[in-house]
């Protein structure tokens, strides 16, 4: 992990309000592990002051130039414009200079080879699942259950399919795939593959529902959580989440950026976890 000063290779809107950015990642793209993230410095003037965390969606190599130079590593992030920082990012042009800190955090545990793997993603939560799927499909059969509010929130499904991942889509309004919650699909899949392991990333209510299902069935679950972060390296202790055994009398916190952002479900205290991060709702006024 290092702070890299690099450049934007591409930055395009891929669905309303969602962008995909590719940056040059010399020396670190290929080191990133599924579930890790980076801290993106939005701009060097102010505001915003703090960096913004983003999961690593994809890493790869640019084809070698005809001048015979070694292939160059790149990293892709997928992000949703929600506030000032991501809005500024969406206006970055090809060739813009950017700074990223990474790869940070602990990623996913790959589990037992050969076993069925079910990935559950909600909205932008599919980001870390793509690299995970790429790794897992080498040794296991992988299914992706992808949920969103409308069809606009369903991203990159064909890319998962190209990896050989069986994908199931559900939307709240039925505008794409099955109408309803992704957890309905999960229940069906677990009926069929009761020994599968589950990996989830997405909005907190979805993660909580997935956790309830997995806990009830004794299915191993890993979740990638979002938290408000200032440093991303374990120095500020701003990003903590409640760990198992937490109580008001003896609080126990886990550091999301260092001990996470991926946790095994049993590491966490799930009571009211959904209300924990408490992001500002944001306001356009």
């Amino acid at each position: 992990m290092k702070n890299y000063k690099t450049v934007v290779l591409s930055n395009q809107e891929i669905s309303t309000g969602y962008y995909r950015m590719r940056i040059l990642a010399p020396g670190f793209g290929s080191k990133a592990k599924p579930g890790q993230f980076l801290m993106f410095r939005v701009q060097t003037s102010l505001p915003p002051l703090l960096r913004r965390p983003f999961g690593i969606f994809r890493t790869g190599f640019l084809p070698a130039d005809c001048d015979g130079q070694a292939p160059k590593e790149f990293v892709e992030i997928l992000y949703k414009v929600v506030g000032r920082g991501t809005d500024i990012m969406s206006n970055l042009q090809v060739g813009s200079k950017v700074e990223v800190l990474g790869p940070l955090g602990r990623g996913f545990d790959m589990g037992v080879p050969g076993e069925q793997k079910i990935l559950v993603g909600g909205g932008i939560g599919l980001v870390p699942l793509y690299m995970l799927a790429r790794e897992l499909t080498r040794k296991s059969s992988v299914r992706l259950l992808m949920g969103g509010r409308t069809r606009e929130d369903i991203l990159a499904v064909t890319e998962f399919e190209r990896l050989g991942v069986e994908t199931y889509v559900s939307t709240d309004d039925g505008s794409l795939g099955e109408e309803g919650l992704v957890t309905q699909v999960l229940l069906r899949k677990l009926d069929k593959y009761p020994n599968a392991s589950v990996y989830a990333c997405g909005p907190m209510p979805m993660i909580e529902a997935v956790q309830e299902i997995c806990a009830a069935r004794g299915v191993p679950l890993q979740v990638s959580l979002e938290a408000l972060m200032a440093c991303g390296v374990g120095a500020c202790l701003g990003c903590v989440v409640k760990g198992a055994g937490h109580s008001e009398a003896s609080p126990r916190y886990l550091c999301s950026c260092k001990e996470g952002p991926v946790f095994r479900a049993e590491q966490l205290d799930w009571t009211k976890l959904g209300q924990e991060p408490g992001y500002c709702e944001g306001c356009k006024i």
């Binding site: 410095r41 002051l49 960096r51 200032a230 440093c231 120095a235 989440v241 992001y279 500002c280 006024i285």
Partner: protein, 307 residues
């Protein structure tokens, strides 16, 4: 002549620093967190996260909120406790050729005394920084820092138990900071560090709830720099002991402001989160400024404010 490297070395309460730049407590972990990013041996000193007698879990979340040109935090002084620090964190720091300053606090007077006593015998600790200024915990911290009598009492007690250089870190959340600064000096402080964070609050207008679980938090970052510069200026006039300036330093120029008003050293806090190598840039920038201005020793710059 112009190419000769200026001397940036300073001494704070008997601690010899290669240069006047060090991290601010709580923004640099225990040093090892930033080791992958910078050469810790280039720093003037390393200042640790604030320690208490027993480990402390800290406040509920959310603990941080970004605000205009700054951030609010209500971490609640989460730390591993003094004994775990000595056992698990100090061995790493021991290998680094940079003085270690340990920041600490207590929940009660007795606790302040006891932590001071335990740190007293540790040779690797070059000095301690007494935090009587954290706005985020109910007991301890700020209650000692806002009342000059209480400040005097706690500094006096720590002085009695401590055989090391003692830096006292003041809160800006007072009407006249020179009063607490003088109280700390009279009670035995070898240096003064100012400032800690300013108490602030941010509200989510949609939910109409505070953005921090603790309701209020400490404001840091560039938003507080002018307040910090003013307070350092005041404290420098009020005491004879050296003063360390902290608050919103992001660039070399910001650090120079503090030195010019009379700070003998500076601490960099929130800026580390934004750029982990910022202290390297600041050290290089101070040196470059000295070269440009024909300054051969940093002491020519310290307190050179023209009024």
């Amino acid at each position: 002549m112009k190419n000769k490297r200026p001397s940036l070395a300073v001494e704070i309460a008997g601690i010899k620093l290669k240069n006047p730049v060090m991290p601010a407590s709580g923004t640099f972990g225990y040093g090892e967190e930033y080791a992958p990013f910078i050469d810790l041996e280039r720093l003037g000193a390393i200042v640790t996260k604030g320690l208490s007698l027993a480990p402390k879990a800290g406040n509920p979340t959310p603990r941080i909120a970004e605000t205009i040109s700054g951030m609010l935090n209500a971490i609640g002084l989460q730390n591993v406790g003094v004994d775990a620090f000595i056992q698990h964190k100090l061995p790493f720091l021991r290998e680094i050729n940079t003085p270690v300053i340990v920041n600490f606090f207590g929940n009660t007077l007795d606790e302040y005394g006891e932590v001071a006593r335990r740190l007293s015998d540790i040779p690797e600790v070059a000095g301690v920084e007494l935090n009587i200024s954290c706005p985020n915990v109910k007991q301890g911290g700020i209650v000692f820092g806002t009342d000059p009598k209480a400040a005097s009492e706690v500094v006096g007690l720590v002085r009695k138990h401590l055989k090391k250089p003692l830096i006292v870190k003041l809160t800006p959340n007072v009407t006249d900071i020179s009063v607490t600064a003088r109280a700390a000096e009279e009670a035995g402080a070898d240096a003064i560090c100012c400032i800690n964070t300013l108490t602030g609050m941010a509200v989510d207008v949609k939910t109409r709830r505070p953005r921090l679980a603790n309701k209020t938090g400490g404001l840091s970052g560039p938003a507080i720099r002018p307040v910090a510069v003013r307070m350092v200026h005041q404290v420098v006039q009020a005491v004879k002991v050296p003063v360390i300036g902290v608050g919103g330093i992001m660039r070399p120029m910001d650090a120079l402001e503090f030195l010019i008003v009379g700070a003998k050293a500076v601490q960099v806090g929130t800026a580390n989160f934004v750029d982990p190598a910022v202290m390297m840039t600041i050290i290089d920038g101070i040196e470059a400024f000295c070269v440009e201005e024909g300054i051969t020793d940093i002491h020519q710059l310290i307190g050179s404010l023209q009024l």
